[in-house]
Amino acid sequence: MSSHAAGTIDHHHDPSTSTGIPNKKLMMWTFLASDCMFFGALISTHLIYRLHPAPGSPQPKEIFSLELTSFSTFILLMSSLMMALAVTAIQKGNVKSMRWSLLTTIFFGTIFLGCQVYEFVEFATLKNLTLTNSMFGTTFYTLTGTHGIHVAIGVLWLILMYVRSFQPPEGQRTFGWLFKNCLHVSAIVGAVLLSMFAILGVVHTIQTGGTTASYFASHLWMIVGFFATIAVAVSFWRQKTAVNFGEANAIDVESMGLYWHFVDIVWIVIFTAVYLIEYL
């Protein structure tokens, strides 16, 4: 499969296609054009209902925390950078560097998701903004929640791509490998979820007067679980077996990258049209 020397595949031109654009790339760009319409419909719904809010509607300015949202915007932009670096790395055949970049992308993506969960919980419990108690709540949660789901799907995809980069050559793909594969995926997913909820839990505990130590004392399983997942991930990382992943797979990473960047640019639009605009 990767019979080319590193750095010798032309990643900009695929001669087997009529246009030179790889099929997967073309499909992803078309899908993104479609997704523009999808978010367009959701953004329309939100903005339409912001045109003439009923009297007594919640005031977004009093609900939003611009610091938090700016922080998460910055995080997502950084994750985009990491994604671009992952693509460049694999285009040069550097699997290890790609893995690091993917992990940092996952890391930043998780932080974004964590911030969003935190924000939703804050709004719902402290600011009395729920999905159903106002049009603003309805459209806000639906739009940003859908974006969040897109991010979550992206994080899952990143994890799967990361684990994919460990796939052994054809002959060694046994049922044993399949089990280990699923274990690897579960470990990373577990690490992501555990760390995210642990940190959210700690933050919540501190805000309600508790201490970090007390939180972990009552949630010992989270620490244990987290370290277990990390141990599993590290043990896979250190395996030295040959993998069926290299420069020829760059198109898959690139297509995934396009999706991830798209999720970022949708957030740029949402940040402006949902958050910033309310401050005027």
């Binding site: 246009t19 999808f38 159903t132 459209t139 639906t142 994919r164």
Partner: protein
């Protein structure tokens, strides 16, 4: 089925080398497994066609019931509730389960052949689209078998009729879920077709040498991927209103029901162009073939198709002229609607130009095609009458609208699809429909159709409203309705003849050789039916109407083909994709989850493992596993080596490592 399965040129032994046991590599060539695991665009197209024709009959029965109810005033063939279900399901079935999949059948079977490709860009995604379509079709129709009944809110599902207050049972949920699955299927298939047409054309097949049917496939695919997201969002918002207590369309919570209409029609209007563009493409193939002339004004026909597609996104509120949008909005949409009549009219002129001075051969496909031109024109006239908003104020929601869209959908889309079936039957199955019976079915259909729908123009102008289950005897509508029902029965007979003839021909019809119509496009260069790999040698295209050039220059082409065959053999032979069960598994998962979401009651003692959530999660898990296996099973495929006669030669090479 036989014809596809037992093609002499079909590869029988896909001896793949020993692969890891983890991934099942189905190799069945016949039987149920071969159909469930096929990734061959021809078989998938055939399946789309079979399902479409089945649902077409279902929709037809629903229509006959409607007409029987309306035959006489104050009738009680159906109750009001049953009537609502009938017109809802008739519309939903005909649009989403009959016309669209029948078009998809042709996109799948014919388009790759027309561009000189061996399959679509993503064969497994193609299979996934098919099975997800089946899943959606089943969920929409599940209500027939449940106490809730089938959906009864009109195919346009206006709020607030669809709210939990007015439609408290599961029928609307199943309508929503079924449509969502159909949307997924359509978008996936369209992404596939776009990449295929743009990226997998044979050498020399520039965009301006593409057959018009392929162009229309491309435009339709773009319309689908760009318009379906709006109905997806609308349906999600509706589902949230119904189940999560939101108020997107709920006035009491601050919502606006009119928003549903906007979101729906932003999708709904491009949808009608999705229904007609493939038909226009088919006609653009048939008229030149049976006029023995190239299509008149090819670039203009293509450009008009693009214009119709693009402008189709700017006219949606012409379905809402009577909702009080205000003068500016109404005028803007009226103007845009009138504008879109221009490229449509241009196409009609070009088709007439094609016929003009041609050597016309009045075979059955030509009859349907000529019927299309004329009937679609009538439908276009009534459409343009609608575009004048003041006139539409009377016509809206009357039978005039029903007349209009049946003229464009039956007289237009259906006639073209029926023409396409006759036209491409010899290619797909190696048999030709008898001229007498084909023409008879045409005339009966033509007569029945016009007798049914022409009176509806008058019924509408005389004030008869749509979607009402009965009418009183002193309104002046008795004669029109009676005649329309007689027409519907005649139409039913015509369809019956058509289907009977088709089934007969499929089983025992006259066998024919290649290129029975002396046509101009590449698909006719293949044996009937085409072998699994389509082209033994990928053709080189020298001109528009590629096959015509090939037939005029046989020596040049033969030399070219021989050279290319050698190159291809040296490169390892013909690359074929493996069959796979995982697309089916993924669709099955979506089906189960869809049933869980829409058809199962909430558990009276709710908990995480209640019936509803449980079934949904199981479905989701099956879907995820199916997708995951699909992603990791690899798509290396296998290779074929063929000799000059297209028979597989003895030395089969192993797959590339």
């Amino acid at each position: 089925m036989d014809a596809i399965l037992k093609s002499e040129l079909q590869v029988k032994d896909t001896a793949a080398p020993a692969k890891s046991a983890v991934f099942w590599r189905p190799t069945a060539q016949t039987g149920l497994v071969s159909w469930l695991t096929t990734v061959d665009h021809k078989k998938i197209g055939f399946l789309y066609g079979v399902f479409a024709l089945f649902f077409f009959l279902v929709g037809g029965v629903e229509a006959l019931l409607i007409r029987l109810q309306l035959m006489l005033p104050n009738s009680s063939v159906l109750t009001a509730e049953q009537y609502n279900t009938m017109f809802t399901m008739h519309g939903t079935t005909m649009i989403f389960l009959a016309i669209m999949p029948l078009s998809a059948a042709f996109f799948n079977f014919i388009m790759p052949l027309q561009i000189g490709a061996r399959d679509v860009a993503f064969p497994r995604l193609n299979a996934f689209s098919l099975w997800t379509f089946v899943a959606g079709a089943i969920i929409i129709n599940l209500g027939w078998f449940m106490p809730d009944g089938a959906p009864n809110v009109g195919w346009t599902g206006y709020a607030p009729l669809t709210s939990k207050t007015y439609a408290p049972d599961h029928s609307v949920d199943m309508w929503i879920m079924g449509l969502q699955l159909l949307g997924v299927a359509s978008i996936a298939a369209s992404l596939n077709f776009i990449v295929t047409i743009i990226n997998m054309r044979a050498p020399g097949m520039t965009m301006m040498r593409l057959p018009v049917f392929t162009w229309m496939t491309l435009f339709t695919a773009f319309l689908i991927v760009l318009s379906f997201p709006f109905i997806t969002v609308a349906l999600v918002e509706l589902m949230m209103d119904r189940h999560f207590g939101t108020s997107f369309f709920e006035v009491s919570g601050g919502g606006m029901p009119i928003l549903w209409q906007h979101l729906f029609w932003v999708f709904g209007h491009p949808e009608v162009y999705i229904l007609i563009l493939p038909a226009m493409g088919i006609i653009s193939e048939i008229l030149p073939t049976f006029s023995r002339k190239p299509l008149f004004g090819y670039p203009i026909v293509v450009f008009s198709g693009a214009s119709i597609g693009f402008l189709g996104f700017s006219v949606w509120s012409h379905h809402m002229f009577t909702t009080g949008m205000g003068t500016v909005a109404t005028a803007a949409f009226a103007l845009a609607t009138m504008a879109i009549a221009v490229p449509t009219g241009v196409k009609i002129f070009n088709w007439i130009g094609t016929l003009w001075g041609g050597h016309l051969s009045m075979r059955t496909p030509m009859m349907f095609a000529l019927g299309f031109v004329w009937m679609f024109m009538i439908g276009g006239f009534s459409g343009v009458m609608h575009s004048a908003a003041p006139a539409d104020a009377q016509q809206q929601d009357s039978y005039f609208v029903v007349a209009h869209f049946h003229y464009v959908l039956i007289g237009g889309s259906l006639f073209a699809l029926l023409a396409g079936i006759h036209y491409w039957f010899p290619l797909m199955f190696g048999r030709k429909v008898s001229e007498f019976w084909g023409k008879l079915s045409f005339w009966v259909i033509f007569a029945g159709f016009n007798i049914t729908f022409f009176p509806m123009h008058f019924l509408g102008l005389n004030g008869m409203p749509r979607r009402t289950f009965t009418y009183d005897t002193n309104l002046g509508w008795n004669a029109g309705n009676f005649i329309a029902t007689i027409g519907a029965l005649i139409l039913g007979v015509g369809i019956f003849i058509y289907f009977a003839v088709m089934v007969y021909t499929f089983l025992k019809g006259e066998k024919v050789g290649k290129d029975v119509w002396d046509a101009r496009t590449l698909e006719w260069s293949l044996p009937n039916p085409p072998p699994e790999y389509n082209y033994r040698v990928i053709p080189t295209v020298h001109a528009r109407d590629a096959l015509w050039y090939i037939k005029q220059n046989p020596a040049e082409i033969a030399k070219e083909d021989a050279a290319k065959a050698k190159i291809e053999a040296d490169h390892g032979g013909i690359h074929m994709p493996h069959q796979s069960i995982y697309p089916f598994v993924a669709s099955l998962g979506m089906f189960v989850a869809g049933v869980g979401i829409s058809a199962i009651d909430h558990d009276p003692t709710p908990g995480f493992w209640g019936k509803k959530i449980g079934i949904t999660l199981i479905g989701g898990a099956i879907m995820c596993l199916g997708i995951y296996w699909w992603a990791i099973e690899g798509n290396e495929g296998y290779h074929l080596h063929l000799d000059e006669d297209g028979k597989e030669s003895k030395d089969k090479k192993a797959d590339h490592p």
